[in-house]
């Protein structure tokens, strides 16, 4: 194709050059021929004209004398002129006078024609006048042979043909050489263009020519264009790369965004699903819960009742018939006496948004029967945290009560039934081993002692089982009070000193500073248990260390021994029943395997916790916590009091409600000097809370308080059966009238006016209100 193109452009160029030059040569030849022919004719005419004039001049005489012969002779002179083929002389009448006809083929015109030259093709005829003395006497005729012209034309044509052939050859050779000047760069351009289009590369360049002409310019322009294109191409590639990078980045961003969206979408879907699931679950829980669930609005009327509640109460939503929850199901006490709503502390608390938990109450069914119930009420808050009601979850505990009763009866019966034969065995063995019935052989004596020891152990085991069952079933009400930590530790230690001495163990007790809220008997039981264990599991000549520390809310007791220690994996399990570190311990040490389980039950009942840890360098530390008595007032002069003046266990606690701190301090100190433990608050609301929590044995109440005044406090305490009989000492700034006094009575009540009473009056009233109070003096005397 390239070749064809090359041929094409070269051929065309060659062709153009050759056509051009040939045309020029032909035109030149034509001109040359025409000019030659014209000149030849002109010379012929001039020639015959001259001949005619010569003949005419010579024939005048003949004519004038009408001498035809003479005329013929004159004409015969023309024999020297071969080109003249015929000649004649005409007289003045135009009649032929003499003729010259070398060739007879030619016929002479019979008469003279007007003067002039006549070109007849193969000959040229001339008619010219013959004058004599200015007078026309005849006409001269000459005919010249013009056949020469054709030969001349042929000759010209041959010459022209030769010229054309030569010039064509020359032109071809020249063109073949010269066309390269133009075609080579163009072919080169074509080649490069083809290359560019074929290889799609702009890096090729046409070979530049040295020519400073249009072709050179074209090549340069083409190269510039290629350079430009290449640059653009490179830029394009660059742009493309940038674009690709950008696209890749955007794609990555989009992908990431997409993924995030997907994650968000999934999360949202999941959340929606979870929410739907939650709603379903909530509905399922509500519908399938075995516990009755009541939603209660602020008006104390039911907002929703779940199927279990309907079943347990035998009442549908519509059966409530506009009554409040209290009116519908809580209207009477267990004994059937009416329970007015305004006296129901739980209803009040529920309306006030307080959570309630009751394990022992009575609900009434729609058919008028009642059942023991355990319930809790939780305040219901909307999204903004506003109190919109309460949810009461309750459970008919009839069956559970029955089972608990059965279990309890079973345990107590079994323990009784076991005790009876044991009594005989123990008694008989005791008498036998005492020797009162006569001496027994030494080995027999040893056996009897073993029998006695194991009978005692069996009795302890039965006692412990009974004890544990009672604590865990909640049968044993903790008789809580303010307990001094040092006192309980001292008592427990006292009871075990003999055992420690026997085992050669030293008991070291650090000072215990803390006032607890608990059952002192049970705490002593625990300490006895733990210290007894520590002694039992300590090798002789080691120390059992007792220590304690008060935290923000709890007091922590610690009993540490230097014995063989408890393996790490058993530190937790030792609190389970019959789970001793070594099964042989119970035999060797005479324990029941229930001591720590009982301790754990007691601690749990107190709201504390118990755990064991490794003692350094050897042995075990058992720690347990008991809640501190709330807000126990620090008496400034406490350290001046001997320890025994501090409230003995089960001594009553006095709640002082006074916002004047100095006055409260004085009153507290006075009360403590009387051997009473105290706690203090400056707030009416807090006073109600503390009363509910601790049931103080005496309440000392200021009337003017920052939040609730004394009247409101008394009013609220009257609503609660456990508190309406608490002895009260009202301490007011002004004398009170009878009406006011009647509004302020709880149990035994006394009134004091601040400005008019001494500390001695206060002390006297406290003693009167609290007949059992022993003063410090008395207790010292007793000691």
């Amino acid at each position: 194709m390239t070749t064809k193109r090359q041929h094409s452009i070269r051929g065309k160029l060659t062709g153009i050059i050759m056509i051009t030059s040939t045309t020029a040569v032909l035109l030149a030849c034509l001109g040359f021929t025409v000019t030659g022919l014209l000149n030849f004719r002109k010379r012929l005419i001039v020639d015959i004209s001259t001949v005619a004039r010569l003949i005419a001049a010579n024939s005048t005489a003949a004519l004038a004398f009408n001498d035809r012969e003479a005329g013929r002779e004159v004409l015969s002179a023309l024999q020297a002129k071969p080109s003249v083929i015929a000649a004649g002389i005409y007289n003045h009448r135009g009649e032929l006078f003499a003729a010259y006809e070398p060739n007879h083929g030619i016929t002479m015109p019979r008469s003279a024609r007007p003067d002039g030259v006549y070109d007849l093709g193969d000959r040229i005829e001339l008619f010219s006048p013959i004058r004599f003395g200015g007078k026309r006497i005849g006409t001269m005729y000459v005919s010249a042979d013009n056949r020469d012209r054709a030969a001349r034309v042929l000759q010209y044509e041959e010459i022209a043909g030769a010229i054309v052939v030569f010039s064509l050859l020359a032109a071809f050779l020249l063109a073949a050489r010269l066309q390269r000047l133009i075609s080579t760069p163009i072919v080169e351009l074509a080649r490069v263009a083809t290359l560019v289009s074929k290889e799609k590369s702009f890096s090729v360049r046409a070979t530049p020519t040295k020519l400073n002409d249009e072709v050179g310019n074209l090549v340069n322009a083409f190269n510039s264009m290629l350079a430009e294109l290449e640059q653009r191409d490179q830029k394009l590639v660059l742009y493309q790369t940038v674009l690709e990078t950008t696209v890749a980045e955007r794609t990555a961003e989009l992908t990431a965004a997409n993924e995030e969206l997907l994650i968000a979408k999934n999360a949202a879907e999941k959340a929606a699903a979870t929410s739907a699931q939650l709603a379903r679950e909530s509905a399922l829980i509500l519908n399938n819960a075995t516990d009755g669930i009541l939603g209660i609005g602020l008006d104390n009327r039911p907002a929703f009742v779940n199927p279990s509640a309907v079943r347990i109460l035998g009442m549908r939503m519509e059966d409530f018939d506009g009554r409040t929850i209290h009116e519908a199901i809580h209207h009477s006490h267990a004994d059937g006496t009416t329970f007015p709503e305004e006296e129901c502390a739980n209803t009040m608390a529920m309306r006030g948004g307080a959570p309630i938990g009751m394990v022992d109450d009575t609900f009434w069914r729609g058919d008028g029967t009642s059942f023991p119930v355990e319930y809790s009420s939780t305040p219901m808050l909307d999204e903004t945290g506003a109190h919109i009601g309460a949810v009461v979850v309750f459970r008919d505990v009839t069956d559970r009560r029955a089972i608990e009763k059965l279990k309890s009866e079973f345990v107590s019966t079994v323990s009784h039934e076991l005790r009876t034969p044991l009594t005989s065995i123990r008694g008989a063995l005791g008498l036998l081993s005492s020797g009162l019935l006569g001496s027994v052989a030494e080995k027999g004596q040893r056996m009897l002692e073993i029998a006695v020891a194991n009978t005692d152990r069996l009795v302890r085991l039965i006692n412990d089982i009974l004890d544990l069952e009672r604590i865990e079933s909640g049968k044993v009400e903790l008789s809580r009070g303010v307990v001094d930590a040092q006192t309980v530790v001292d008592q427990a230690r006292e009871g075990l000193q003999a055992m420690a001495d026997q085992e050669n163990i030293r008991i070291v007790a650090e000072p215990f500073a803390g006032t607890l809220w608990g059952d002192s008997d049970r705490i002593i039981q625990m300490l006895t248990n733990l210290i007894g264990n520590a002694i039992k599991f300590s090798p002789p000549n080691t120390t059992v260390t007792l220590s304690g520390s008060a935290g923000p809310a709890d007091f922590t007791f610690c009993v540490a021994d230097e014995g063989r220690g408890v393996p790490h994996d058993k530190l937790t399990s030792i609190f389970q029943r019959f789970n001793q570190v070594d099964a042989s311990d119970s035999r060797a040490k005479g324990g029941s395997g229930l001591g720590l389980a009982i301790c754990q039950s007691i601690v749990t009942a107190h709201g504390g916790r118990i755990w064991a840890e490794k003692n350094e360098p050897a042995g075990t530390r058992v720690l347990f916590t008991i809640p501190l008595a709330a807000r126990s007032y620090e008496v400034p002069a406490a350290d001046s009091l001997p320890p025994d003046a501090i409230a003995k266990r089960s001594d009553p606690a006095v709640l002082v409600v006074e916002d004047d701190i100095d006055l409260a301090r004085v009153m507290t100190a006075t009360l403590q000097r009387l051997g009473l433990s105290t706690f203090h608050t400056a707030s009416g609301n807090e006073a109600i809370r503390l009363c509910n929590e601790h049931e103080p044995r005496l309440l000392v109440l200021d009337l003017g308080l920052p939040d609730l005044d004394g009247f409101a406090v008394v009013h609220q305490l009257r609503q609660q059966p456990a508190l309406r009989d608490v002895p009260l000492l009202v301490y007011s700034a002004l004398d009170l009238g009878k009406a006011d006094q009647s509004r302020l009575r709880l149990g035994p009540t006394e009134f004091l006016t601040k400005s008019r009473c001494s500390l001695a009056d206060f002390e006297a009233l406290v003693i009167r209100l609290f007949g059992t109070v022993t003063t410090r003096k008395d207790s010292q005397n007793a000691a």
Binding site: T420, L422, L436
Partner: protein, 123 residues
Amino acid sequence: MPPKQILIIDDENDIQEVARLSLQLTENWNVIGANGGAAGTLLALSSEPDAILLDVMMPDMDGPSTLRVLQHQGSTIPVIFLTAKVQPADRQKFMQLGVKGIISKPFDPLTLGKQIREMLAWG
């Protein structure tokens, strides 16, 4: 001074016997026994013992009923419960019935007499 006479009312003859033996041996008291509340009441009213050791759980007439009958009959004989019921609530309830003391079963035969003496404030 004649030896004290003690009446043991317990439906378990074995316990009666152990208690009798231990009191005779340790305190040299004269011990009589009855194995039921009704028989015990009759014996108490007829023989006027210095003290009665009274079991609480008996099939025919339990300890508290026996005590109530005795009190109703105007008896002033001090009564001590001898019982396997060791729970504090029971103890408290029994004390309110007017007994002089409560001795837990099983008892230590060697200190039974001493316990009784302390409860009744016998020298």
